[in-house]
Structures are given as structure tokens and as C-alpha cells.
């Protein structure tokens, strides 16, 4: 085979990547056994959300940004309200802070569970869809759906509905759920946690490639595992607040992608569950310390194939956190606090299921948005995905068949759970006009 390798010219096009959120493609060119060209293409049309926000009242922002993504609308809402509430110097009540965290737990649970069971797992059982997986592992798929439903119910509890929730506003929530609703939800969450722990143990036993790579993990950190707030740190010394983001991170356009590429001081980096766990593994509750010890705790890890286990661990964390928050749930006197509009510029961030989500807004004295910038996780991971693919394919062996190379490439990309629909929200546009 080695002799044939030197003569081999291969071009692999995956025109439409399956089992990722949105529309993307991959192009590889191998010549003389060397990878000559690799492009992870995002061709989904730009969606112009930042432009849509201009001229809108601040109160409309949570509902507009929720529409950027059907999988992680809460992350968009929370990053936005974090920014606007910091400008308006809103003092949130403990109840509002707790419920924001609870709502966010729901999004992690549903998004991670969907990714593990519908998108990623079929690869590990030589299946192309969850249908094939359901035939081989029906109990695992049923368990996954049961866990995912916990996330949907949490989002509906505070958001009014599980897709594109509408319960959140600048200054709090529109409505507080009743004690009875909280008690019913708490029972479901309590029943889902043991299932999630069993799922994490099962995922840890899957045969994953042992592939170490050098990359920088970037994530929020906080005394309690970070969801909706924290300082941004990396495992290479970065430690910044929300307003300093653009000093360190830059976005640029690549001809082959409708999504912007984000770099940290010119270098690619990783955001998402693996990066979060790498930086916050010491902030987990004791039951997860024990679970990870039992599973031979690989974190911090430089193996991207540990992303699935990271997601499983975060599901356990989010269910436990949600259970704790619901245990002593009380209906507040008011679900929101008054907001006094102030002109200025503001930034906000949070940890979306797929990683850091940063927003910046310019607001005038009437509360109208004059400019908006949104940096989603998939834009931040794009450069890392390409580098990972180049390294991982070489390690896998370019002598493999085209089909094997395609499947391996898709597995690598799915490790990042890219949300392409989120990433394609911006296009630089200019026009010259004659008088």
C-alpha cells in the first residue's frame, strides 16, 4: 500500500455535512500522500442579526437574539441581558440570578443530550443515523431522550416554551412559575439525574481514539461551575473581564466561509464543553469528583474525542444544579426589577452549550440599539476545527480509503458540535454608487 501511496491524488468533497446544526461542507486535497488543501466551509447564507438589532428598543433584544438559534436561544438571551443590565446598572434579586442559572441548565441538558444521542453517537456504532443506533442501542437512545426532555421542561418552565423561549426580559423574567409547577419539574429532574450518571459511565466506556493535540482552552471560570457569568481564562495565562474581550480576540473573514473566524492574539483556540471542563474541573460538585475518579478522570484533556464525555459530565452537573435550585423554589414578590435606561456601550457573555458567547451593544438615551456585535462559539472554533482536521487526518493515516477519511473527518468536526446557523450571522457589505 505504501508504494501506491506516493502516486495517489485524492480530492474529497463532502458537499453537505450530515448530523451537524446547519449547513457546512469540507474540502480536502491530498497529493503525493500529503494533505495539500483542507477547507471547512460554512456556506449557509449570512443572517444579518446584528443589523436587525439596530434601531430596535432594548426590550426587544432578548426575543430577537433568541431567534438566532433553535438549540441555544437561552445563551443568546442571557449574554444580551447581561450586557444591557450591566449598562443600566440593574441590581438583580437572588431569585432572578438563580432562575437565570436554572434556565441555562435546561439549555445545556437539551443541547448536549441532543448532540450526544442524535449527532455524535451513531459514529461510534458504525451507523449513519440515530435510527440505526436505536436498533443497536435502544435503551441508550430512550435514556437520552428522557434526559433531553428534562432540558426541554426546564426551558419551558421559565421560558414559556421549549423552543425560542420568551420568558426572559432585561431586568428579570416576565412571569414566575407556580410552586406546583416547580415541584412537578423537580420530580422529573430528580429522576433524570441517575439516568444521566449511567449515561456518563456508558459514554466513558466507548472506544475513543487516543489522539493528543496541542491547543489552547478558553472558557469562563467562576467559583461555581460557569454558565451565565465568570471571568474569561485560558490554560495559557489569559485572565480577562468582559470589556477586555476585543483587546485579545479578533475576527476576520475567510473567502470560503460565511462565518467570521475568531483568533486569540492571532492563534486558534478551543471553546466549549471540553475547554470548560479543562479549566473548571476543580469546580464540580463532590458527586462528580467521585464519578470522574471512578472513570479515570481524563480532564484536563488535550484529546478532542473526550468532548463527548465532557458533555455527559456537564449534563450531570446541570441536572444536579437544577435540582438544587428547584429544591427550595419560592414564588417571588416580583419576577423582575425596574430598569432605568442609560446611553452607552456594554458587553456581556455567557457559556453557551458550544462555548463562549460574547455580545456588545451601543445604546442611545432612549434605549434604542445603535450597534450590535455578536461572537458565537462556532466562529471561535472554526480555525481550531481546520487545524484539528489537518492533524487528525495525518494521525489517522491518509492511506485510508476516501470513505474512511470522510467518516473520520466528520467525526472530528462533530466533536465541536458546530452550530453553523449561529455562526453565519454577519457579512461585511459595501457598495459604490454613482450620483
Amino acid at each position: 500500500m505504501g508504494g501506491k501511496m506516493t502516486e495517489r491524488r485524492v480530492t474529497i468533497d463532502v458537499p453537505s455535512l450530515a448530523r451537524v446544526e446547519g449547513e457546512g461542507a469540507l474540502h480536502l486535497k491530498i497529493e503525493q500522500g500529503t494533505l495539500q488543501h483542507l477547507q471547512f466551509k460554512i456556506y449557509e447564507p449570512p443572517r444579518f442579526f446584528e443589523k436587525f438589532l439596530e434601531g430596535r428598543h432594548y426590550s426587544e433584544v432578548p426575543d430577537i437574539v433568541a431567534r438566532i438559534c433553535g438549540i441555544c436561544p437561552v445563551a443568546y438571551q442571557v449574554s444580551a441581558v447581561n450586557a444591557l443590565e450591566s449598562l443600566f446598572e440593574v441590581e438583580l434579586t437572588p431569585w432572578i440570578k438563580q432562575m437565570r442559572r436554572l434556565l441555562y441548565c435546561g439549555e445545556w441538558i437539551q443541547s448536549h443530550s441532543l448532540h450526544i444521542h442524535l449527532l455524535a453517537l451513531p459514529d461510534y456504532f458504525h451507523e449513519t443515523t440515530v435510527l440505526g443506533l436505536a436498533a443497536k442501542q435502544p435503551d441508550a437512545v430512550k435514556r437520552g431522550f428522557f434526559i433531553q426532555e428534562a432540558g426541554n421542561r426546564l426551558i419551558k418552565f421559565l421560558g414559556g416554551r421549549s423552543v425560542h423561549p420568551i420568558g426572559l426580559q432585561v431586568g428579570g423574567f416576565h412571569k414566575a412559575p407556580s410552586l406546583a409547577e416547580a415541584a412537578e419539574l423537580h420530580r422529573y429532574i430528580e429522576s433524570a439525574l441517575p439516568e444521566a450518571i449511567a449515561m456518563a459511565e456508558w459514554v466513558a466506556r466507548l472506544d475513543m481514539p487516543d489522539e493528543q493535540q496541542s491547543f489552547t482552552s478558553v472558557a469562563l471560570t467562576s467559583p461555581h461551575y460557569p454558565l451565565e457569568t465568570g471571568r474569561l481564562k485560558s490554560d495559557r495565562g489569559l485572565d480577562i473581564g468582559v470589556d477586555d474581550y476585543e483587546t485579545y480576540f479578533t475576527e476576520s473573514q475567510c473567502p470560503h466561509s460565511t462565518a467570521l473566524w475568531s483568533l486569540l492574539k492571532g492563534e486558534n483556540y478551543l471553546v466549549g464543553p471540553l475547554a470548560r471542563l479543562n479549566l473548571n474541573v476543580n469546580g464540580l460538585p463532590p458527586f462528580l469528583d467521585r464519578l470522574l475518579a471512578k472513570l479515570g478522570n481524563p480532564f484536563p484533556s488535550q484529546n478532542m474525542f473526550h468532548s463527548m464525555l465532557a458533555r455527559a459530565v456537564e449534563i450531570c452537573f446541570a441536572l444536579h444544579e437544577a435540582s438544587e435550585l428547584l429544591r427550595n423554589y419560592k414564588v417571588p414578590d416580583t419576577p423582575s426589577v425596574p430598569v432605568r435606561v442609560k446611553a452607552g456601550e456594554c458587553c456581556g457573555w455567557s457559556e453557551a452549550p458550544r462555548g463562549l458567547l460574547w455580545h456588545r451593544y451601543q445604546v442611545d438615551a432612549e434605549g434604542i440599539i445603535r450597534a450590535a456585535k455578536i461572537v458565537p462559539p462556532t466562529s471561535q472554533n472554526q480555525a481550531r476545527i481546520e487545524q484539528d482536521l489537518a492533524q487528525s487526518l495525518q494521525a489517522f493515516g491518509l492511506e485510508h480509503s476516501d470513505e474512511a477519511l470522510r467518516l473520520h473527518s466528520e467525526k472530528v468536526i462533530r466533536n465541536y458540535d458546530p452550530c453553523i446557523s449561529c455562526a453565519t450571522h454577519f457579512l461585511r457589505f459595501s457598495a459604490e454608487r454613482s450620483p
Binding site: G22, L114, L118, L119, T128, L131, A134, V141, V163
Partner: protein, 162 residues
């Protein structure tokens, strides 16, 4: 004994018809044992929704070669949904998981599901983000009558079982 009336749709042209019909039912009012739901990309959550009911009317837009706004009621909707996917190549991006795929998955997992009555309405167009067509809008009262008849027969069937 509960009946779920679930309207599956999107914001694109006549694909909104199921949502219009649910709104029409909600405005008129329904019996306590009838639950109305509007769903977007149904995916996995629809499996959970369906399991809450004994009988389900699933309203969906369809291209069946009928006149625009005409409807068909298929009482063995589950079998139709299953056969719809036979031989089809499915990738199951979560953006491409519709009612038929969801049903196939439920069958694969041997989940206990209710009897489904498919209330399918012939579309005229489904252009991206366009409003519903005048033809379907004009047909709403008649479609409401036909939906009422189906609901009535399901209620009677449940009463007879009791």
C-alpha cells in the same frame, strides 16, 4: 381520556396552515379533554408530546396532488408516516427531522404511541417567510368544519369505549 390536536408547521407560506387551524380551534374553545399544541421542527419533543394522549390529530401541510386547501384525513396515520420514509436516505441533522422521521424513530424504539389521525392539507406554495396563500386562508372555515367533524368522531369513539 385526552385527545391531542397537534399542528406542525413553520413560518413559510402554506406550511402555517396547521397553526392557523389550531388558533381557530383555540379561539372557538374546545372540551377540557382536548389539548391544542402548535409545534415547529417537531424532532424528539414530539415523541414526548404524543405519548401524553390516547388519540392524536396531527395537522400538517402536505403536497398530495389535490386542489390547494383540500384536506385528507388518514386514520392510520402512523402507517402512512412509516411508509413515507421507506427507501429514503435520512441524515437526521436535527434541522431535517420531521414528523415522519420522528415516527420511524418511535417505532424503532418500540415506544407506546397513540392512534394518530393525520389531517393533511394540500399546499399551494411554501416560499420562505411568505404569508399563507389566499386560497388556504379562504378555506379556513371549511377546514375548521372538517376538523370539528373528526374531533366529534374521536370524542364519540372514546365515549363508546367507556
Amino acid at each position: 381520556m385526552t385527545i391531542g390536536v397537534i399542528g406542525v408547521g413553520s413560518a413559510h407560506g402554506d406550511d402555517q396552515i396547521a397553526w392557523y387551524l389550531i388558533d381557530q380551534l383555540a379561539a372557538r374553545g374546545v372540551a377540557d379533554n382536548i389539548h391544542l399544541e402548535k409545534v415547529l421542527a417537531p424532532a424528539v419533543s414530539l415523541i414526548h408530546s404524543l405519548q401524553c394522549y390516547e388519540r392524536v390529530i396531527l395537522i400538517d401541510a402536505a403536497d398530495m396532488g389535490l386542489g390547494a386547501g383540500e384536506c385528507t384525513v388518514i386514520c392510520d396515520g402512523a402507517n402512512v408516516l412509516s411508509s413515507q420514509l421507506q427507501g429514503a436516505e435520512c441524515h437526521f441533522s436535527s434541522h431535517h427531522m420531521g414528523v415522519a422521521e420522528m415516527w420511524q424513530l418511535a417505532q424503532q424504539l418500540e415506544l407506546s404511541m397513540p392512534q394518530i389521525n393525520l389531517f393533511a392539507v394540500q399546499i399551494e406554495h411554501t416560499e420562505t417567510l411568505s404569508p399563507i396563500s389566499h386560497t388556504l386562508r379562504d378555506r379556513l372555515p371549511q377546514l375548521g368544519v372538517e376538523l370539528d367533524a373528526l374531533l366529534g368522531s374521536l370524542q364519540a369513539g372514546l365515549a363508546h369505549q367507556r
